[in-house]
C-alpha cells in the first residue's frame, strides 16, 4: 500500500543544513493503523508531510498504490492527493464555512453536483455524529467536535489513506479516546489505511497494529505494536514505554526487578509460586496491567532480598513461565 524507500529530508537554511530524516524505509500494508512515535524534533512531522508532499523529500521514493508520489507533477499530484487525506493537530477548519460546507469542500473542488454533495455530507455527518451541527460555524464547536469535522472532511473524497498529524495532541484524554475509537471504527468500516504520528504512547497502544519508533530522523525499531511493547529492543523504545513507571531512587534498594507478563502468563500466579518455590519474601513496588490492541500486558516491579545465585534461578524460572525479567537494581 505505502512503500517508503530511502527517504531523506534535509532542510537547508542559508549556511547550515538540518537533517530531519535519514534513509527511512517503511512498508505500510492496506488496512493498517500504523503509528509513528517519537519525541519532538525526531522528524515524525516531516515524515508524514513527505507522504502527501506538503514537504518535498530531498531524496528517496514513496510508493502509494503503485504510484511514486515523489515523481508526480503538479496536476497528477493534486489528483493523487484526493486519495491521501490528512487531519491536523489544529484541525485547520475553514472558519468562514459551516460544518456542512467544510465537509463539502473536497467535493466542491471537483465540482460534484449538489444533490450528491448533500447525500454524501449528510452520511458523513451521521458517521461522526454531528448531524445536529450541520449549519453551525467551527467557532461554536468544542475541540473534539472540530476534529470530528476534520475527519468527516478528510473522508469526503473517499480516500485510501488517512494521515493523522498529531490529530489528538490538542485534545484532553477523554476526547482523545473518542476520536481514536472513531478512527478505529472508520478503519474497520471503510478499510481505510491510517498513518498516525504522535508523541503519545497511549495513542499507539489504543489503536495502532504496527508501530515505528523514530529518533533523530532514523527508525530505531519497527514491528507489530504488541511485540514492540512486550520486548522493546532499543533504549529509546524502552524509555518511551516506561515513561510512567520511573521509581524514585529511595525505593531502588536491594534487588529490584521488573517482570513483564504477556498474554500467556498474565493469568498465572507466578509471584506466589516464586515465593513458595524459593522461600523468599517479595515486596511489590509498582504494578499495572495494560491492554494493547485488547491484549493484556502486565508489569510488576518488585524487590527481593536474595543472593545472586537464587536471583539467577528466579529469573530462569520466570522466563520459563513466559515472564520477562529486567533487573533494575542489583
Amino acid at each position: 500500500m505505502i512503500e517508503i524507500k530511502n527517504l531523506s529530508k534535509i532542510y537547508s537554511k542559508s549556511n547550515h543544513k538540518v537533517v530531519a530524516l535519514k534513509n527511512i524505509n517503511l512498508s505500510i500494508a492496506k488496512g493498517d493503523i500504523y503509528g509513528i512515535i517519537g519525541l519532538s524534533g525526531a522528524g515524525k512531522s516531516s515524515l508524514i508531510r513527505c507522504i502527501n508532499r506538503l514537504e518535498e523529500p530531498t531524496d528517496g521514493d514513496i510508493w502509494i498504490n503503485g504510484v511514486n508520489i515523489v515523481k508526480l507533477e503538479n496536476k497528477e499530484l493534486r489528483t493523487a492527493r484526493k486519495n491521501i487525506s490528512m487531519i491536523f493537530q489544529n484541525f485547520n477548519l475553514f472558519s468562514s464555512k459551516t460544518v456542512f460546507e467544510n465537509i463539502a469542500f473536497p467535493l466542491r473542488l471537483i465540482k460534484t453536483p449538489n444533490s450528491i454533495i448533500k447525500e454524501k455530507v449528510n452520511e458523513l455527518l451521521k458517521l461522526v455524529e454531528l448531524t445536529d451541527k450541520a449549519n453551525v460555524y467551527p467557532a461554536q464547536l468544542s475541540g473534539g467536535q472540530k476534529q470530528r469535522v476534520g475527519i468527516a472532511r478528510s473522508l469526503a473524497s473517499d480516500p485510501d489513506v488517512l494521515l493523522c498529524d498529531e490529530a489528538t495532541s490538542a485534545l484532553d484524554p477523554k476526547t482523545t479516546k473518542q476520536i481514536l475509537s472513531l478512527l478505529k471504527n472508520i478503519n474497520e468500516k471503510l478499510g481505510l489505511t491510517i498513518v498516525i504520528i504522535t508523541h503519545e504512547m497511549e495513542v499507539i497502544k489504543e489503536i495502532c497494529n504496527r508501530v515505528a519508533i523514530l529518533e533523530d530522523g532514523c527508525i530505531v525499531e519497527e514491528g507489530p505494536t504488541l511485540d514492540v511493547f512486550t520486548s522493546p529492543e532499543s533504549y529509546v523504545t524502552r524509555n518511551l514505554i516506561n515513561q510512567d513507571q520511573l521509581l524514585p531512587n529511595e525505593y531502588l534498594k536491594g534487588k529490584v526487578l521488573t517482570l513483564s507478563f504477556t498474554e500467556k502468563s498474565v493469568g498465572e500466579p507466578i509471584i506466589s509460586r516464586i515465593v513458595k518455590k524459593f522461600n523468599v519474601e517479595i515486596n511489590i513496588l509498582y504494578g499495572k496491567i495494560e491492554y494493547i490492541q485488547h491484549k493484556p500486558i502486565g508489569k510488576l516491579t518488585v524487590q527481593i532480598n536474595v543472593n545472586d545465585d537464587v536471583l539467577k534461578n528466579i529469573i530462569l524460572f520466570s522466563e520459563k513461565n513466559h515472564v520477562q525479567v529486567e533487573v533494575l537494581n542489583q
Binding site: 502527501n52 506538503l54 493534486r78 493523487a80 491536523f88 485547520n92 475553514f94 469542500f105 473542488l109 467557532a139
Partner: protein, 216 residues
C-alpha cells in the same frame, strides 16, 4: 440656507461620483494586486520572488508620493487615458493610482491573516491555486477585507478634496473656493459637517457589514 444647498448639492454629487468610480477601479485593480503580493512570496502557493520584489518596489514608490504631487506628475498619463487633464473625470485617474497601492497593501495584510495550516489543509485536499484564492483565502478574510475597503473609501474621500487642483470640483474644492478664498464661513462649516457625516456613515456601514459576515 437655500443658496447653501444650491452650492453643496452639485459639489456633493461630484464628490460621490469621483469616490464611487475610483473605489470601483481601486478594488478591481488592488484586490488582485494584493493577492499576487501574498501568493508570489517565496513561501506561499505560487512562489515567484522576482515578481513579488518588483511589485512591492513599485507600490512603495507610488505610496511615497504625496497625492498633490502625484496628481500633477501623472497629467500626461491622465490625458492618455481619459483624453483630458481637467474636470471631475480627469481627477479620477490620479485617485485610482494613489489608492490602488494603498488598497493592495490592505489586502495583503488581510490575506496574510489566514492561518497557513488552513492553506495547507486545502493543498492536501488537492485544491488548485485559483481554488485556494477564491474558495479559501478571500472567504476566510472577507470581514477584514470589508473593513479594509471602508478605510480605502474614506482615504479616497480625503484625497478627492484636492481634486480642485485639476478642476475636479467636489466638496473639498467648494470649501477652498468659497470658504477660504471668499471668506464664506457658512459654506466652510456646512462642507465640513457634510464630510463628517459622510465619513461616519461609511465607517459605521462598513463595521456593520464586517460584523454580520464575521463567523470567527
Amino acid at each position: 440656507m437655500s443658496h447653501l444647498i444650491e452650492l453643496l448639492y452639485p459639489s456633493m454629487l461630484e464628490t460621490l461620483y469621483m469616490v464611487f468610480v475610483s473605489v470601483f477601479f481601486t478594488i478591481l485593480l488592488g484586490l488582485p494586486l494584493g493577492i499576487i503580493l501574498v501568493i508570489t512570496d517565496k513561501n506561499h502557493i505560487v512562489p515567484i520572488p522576482w515578481l513579488n520584489n518588483i511589485l512591492s518596489y513599485i507600490i512603495n514608490i507610488t505610496r511615497s508620493l504625496p497625492f498633490l504631487i502625484l496628481m500633477i506628475f501623472i497629467i500626461p498619463f491622465t490625458r492618455l487615458i481619459v483624453g483630458t487633464t481637467i474636470g471631475t473625470t480627469a481627477a479620477i485617474i490620479p485617485l485610482i493610482i494613489a489608492a490602488t497601492p494603498f488598497f493592495a497593501r490592505v489586502v495583503e495584510t488581510s490575506i496574510k491573516e489566514v492561518d497557513w495550516g488552513v492553506v495547507e489543509a486545502s493543498i492536501s485536499m488537492g485544491a488548485t491555486p485559483i481554488q485556494i484564492i477564491l474558495k479559501v483565502l478571500i472567504p476566510e478574510v472577507l470581514p477584514s477585507l470589508v473593513l479594509g475597503i471602508t478605510i480605502t473609501i474614506i482615504n479616497i474621500l480625503g484625497y478627492s478634496a484636492m481634486a480642485g487642483v485639476v478642476g475636479g470640483g467636489g466638496l473639498g474644492d467648494l470649501a477652498i473656493r468659497y470658504g477660504y478664498h471668499r471668506f464664506q464661513k457658512d459654506v466652510m462649516i456646512a462642507t465640513v459637517i457634510l464630510l463628517v457625516i459622510l465619513v461616519q456613515l461609511i465607517q459605521s456601514t462598513g463595521n456593520k457589514i464586517a460584523q454580520i459576515i464575521n463567523k470567527k
